[in-house]
């Protein structure tokens, strides 16, 4: 197993908190992948909901209580977790692909392509991310696909800038120069030679950004501008529960909130450790 002998991997596992984060994240991923195995009911199958069960506090039938439609909060949370994770991962993968490609092209070719891409990035960065996403969602209306695209539009900039910075220094190195001298195509040099050598910083940013994307999705859903009510994420569950918080039905919002927090902390623990392991500046 070459992977486990890798110096960085060994170093990663030396930190107990990071390993804890990884374990929690893996467990939550299993929950999200197979929600029906772990939940008491399918929370969106209306035939399984009974109004006489509404607003039950946590008890032996419904561990974490029920909401106003008699829906089991625990089951709803697992299905919500699935959607939150999906939006976080899908938007991050999309923005890495788009941002990375644009950044590589921008840094490698320079000139007017570089100017255009970086000007767009500058204008976008002179604006808070949440505002851009908010406006897009307000005008497009809610939807899982739409929110993935909105977050991608907001996030590609970060990867583009990082990739561009790395390429600027990489393309002058001997291996890239010799590939060019050997007559390799620009496409081949960018994606065959430079790309594999620049993945470390992007992986680190991507990990932290997954957490960020999930928070952004939850915030938009909380404001009622995110995923549709028929497919609630953790953010929309919290928003629904918030409406009845003042009536004392705290469980409908507090438990989804705790799960969201645990999810994001676990991702940040992993991301933090990866940054430390991959950042040579902090090595003593």
């Amino acid at each position: 197993m070459k992977f486990f002998k890798n110096e960085m991997v060994v170093e990663f596992f030396e930190d107990k908190l990071a390993v804890g984060g990884l374990v929690i994240f893996l467990i939550l991923s299993v929950f999200a992948l197979f929600p029906s195995l772990f939940s008491y009911q399918n929370p969106y199958d209306l035939t399984q909901l009974f109004l006489e069960n509404s607003f039950q506090p946590p008890n032996h039938n419904f561990w974490l209580g029920t909401d106003e439609q008699g829906r089991d909060v625990f089951s709803a949370m697992i299905y919500g977790l699935r959607i939150s994770l999906y939006v976080g991962l899908a938007s991050t993968i999309l923005s890495v692909i788009i941002g990375y490609t644009l950044g590589l092209i921008s840094g490698y070719y320079g000139g007017w392509i570089d100017t255009i891409i970086m000007r767009i990035a500058d204008i976008q960065l002179s604006f808070p991310a949440i505002l851009i996403a908010l406006i897009i969602m307000a005008l497009w209306g809610e939807g899982i696909g739409k929110i993935v695209i909105a977050i991608t539009i907001v996030n590609w900039v970060y990867y583009a800038r990082t990739a561009r910075g790395v390429v600027l220094s990489e393309k002058e190195k001997d291996y890239a120069q010799s590939a060019k001298a050997l007559g390799m195509s620009n496409f081949g040099i960018i994606f065959g030679e430079i790309l594999p050598n620049t993945t470390a910083p992007i992986i680190v940013i991507a990990t932290v950004r997954i957490a960020n994307a999930i928070i952004l999705e939850a915030t938009l859903s909380f404001l009622g501008l995110g995923v549709p009510i028929t497919q609630p994420s953790l953010g929309s569950l919290i928003a629904n529960g918030y409406q009845v918080l003042f009536s004392g039905y705290w469980w409908a919002s507090v438990y989804p909130g705790i799960l969201l927090m645990v999810l994001i902390i676990s991702i940040n623990l992993i991301g933090d450790r990866m940054r430390d392991v991959m950042n040579p500046r902090l090595k003593r």
Partner: protein, 316 residues
């Protein structure tokens, strides 16, 4: 220096022009606000008259041209919903938003920087680890969730603090009256929690990087007391990058007032912009975004100028 300032002003003006165009275009495409403004039983004649009165019956180019003419006169058009000049509507609510943002920023700096220093001096100590874990939860918690937990604990369970509104306002702010302060506590805490954690972490990283530099080792070897090394030699240099972050983050804070104001029913621009986007009230949306980007640009500019004062190596 003057040339640099003029150059920056020119660039900022272009950015704001582009933003105004994009937002104007998006809002133009978004739909017809008249449907939302008129009662459901309005006749076709009412609709036509209203569209004409608002000037939205013309082509996009004509409308944008009219907008630019107004801008030259220092006017961003009248709000479709309120009927008043959009700038006035936004400016009327701006103090409430800035009050939240400024207080949250001050709070984050006052607590974030010292805690970051403490966590950097002995990174392996239990209190450093505790501080770092708390800061990790700080950057992991969505703003709305912090606000909700505060409301649950201090309003619903304990009943100590009011959960909505701004309280008694005196001289543009609630900070001078006891009632106002009670209303301010939770929104400010909510808004600053993330920033505090971020500033704390950046202070710590900055300090740790500076502490490894040769001149720190030299100062220690010379026999300079530890306290002087940390608070004089190291802190001074690690604070410089922090200025940039605080500048950028202030803009984020202003944006996140949207969430905070929604939770606490705070009568600022955040609530206004959510309502205006939903009502397709284009003049307000454009005015709000231009003001926000102006604040962003102004702060970045101030940060750059400050830099030349605190760091003699930087020359503009």
């Amino acid at each position: 220096m003057l040339k640099y300032i003029l150059n920056r002003l020119f660039h900022s003006a272009i950015v704001m022009f582009v933003i105004s165009f994009i937002v104007f275009f998006i809002m133009f495409k978004a739909g017809d606000p008249v449907q939302l403004l008129l009662p459901p039983d309005a006749t076709q004649q009412d609709v036509i008259e209203m569209r004409h009165a608002l000037g939205i019956d013309q082509s996009f180019i004509k409308q944008y041209e009219a907008f630019l003419r107004n801008v030259a006169k220092g006017n961003l058009g009248n709000s479709f919903v309120y009927g008043q000049p959009a700038l006035d509507v936004v400016f009327e609510r701006l103090p409430a938003t800035l009050e939240l943002s400024v207080l949250a920023m001050i709070f984050s700096i006052i607590f974030g920087v010292p805690l970051g220093i403490i966590a950097s001096i002995r990174p392996k100590a239990w209190y450093s680890k505790a501080i770092m874990f708390l800061s990790l939860s700080g950057i992991s918690v969505p703003v709305f969730w912090t606000g909700m937990v505060l409301v649950l604990v201090f309003s619903v369970l304990l009943g100590w603090l009011p959960s909505s509104g701004r309280g008694e306002v005196y001289l543009f702010t609630s900070a001078f009256t006891w009632d106002g302060i009670k209303h301010l506590i939770m929104p400010v805490l909510t808004l600053s929690f993330f920033q505090l954690a971020l500033i704390l972490r950046l202070t710590r990283t900055g300090m740790m990087e500076v502490m490894m530099q040769d001149y720190i080792k030299l100062a220690t070897a010379k026999g300079v007391p530890r306290r002087v090394v940390v608070y004089y030699h190291a802190l001074k240099n690690s604070l410089i990058p922090l200025i940039t972050v605080i500048g950028i983050q202030f803009g984020q804070l202003v944006a996140f007032t949207i969430v905070t104001e929604t939770i606490f029913a705070w009568p600022g621009t955040g609530k206004l912009i959510i309502d205006s986007i939903q009502n397709l009230d284009r003049p307000i949306v454009v005015a709000y975004l231009l003001i926000i980007s102006f604040i962003f640009v102004a702060i970045n500019f101030i940060v750059d100028v400050l830099y030349t004062f605190v760091d003699p190596r930087v020359r503009v």
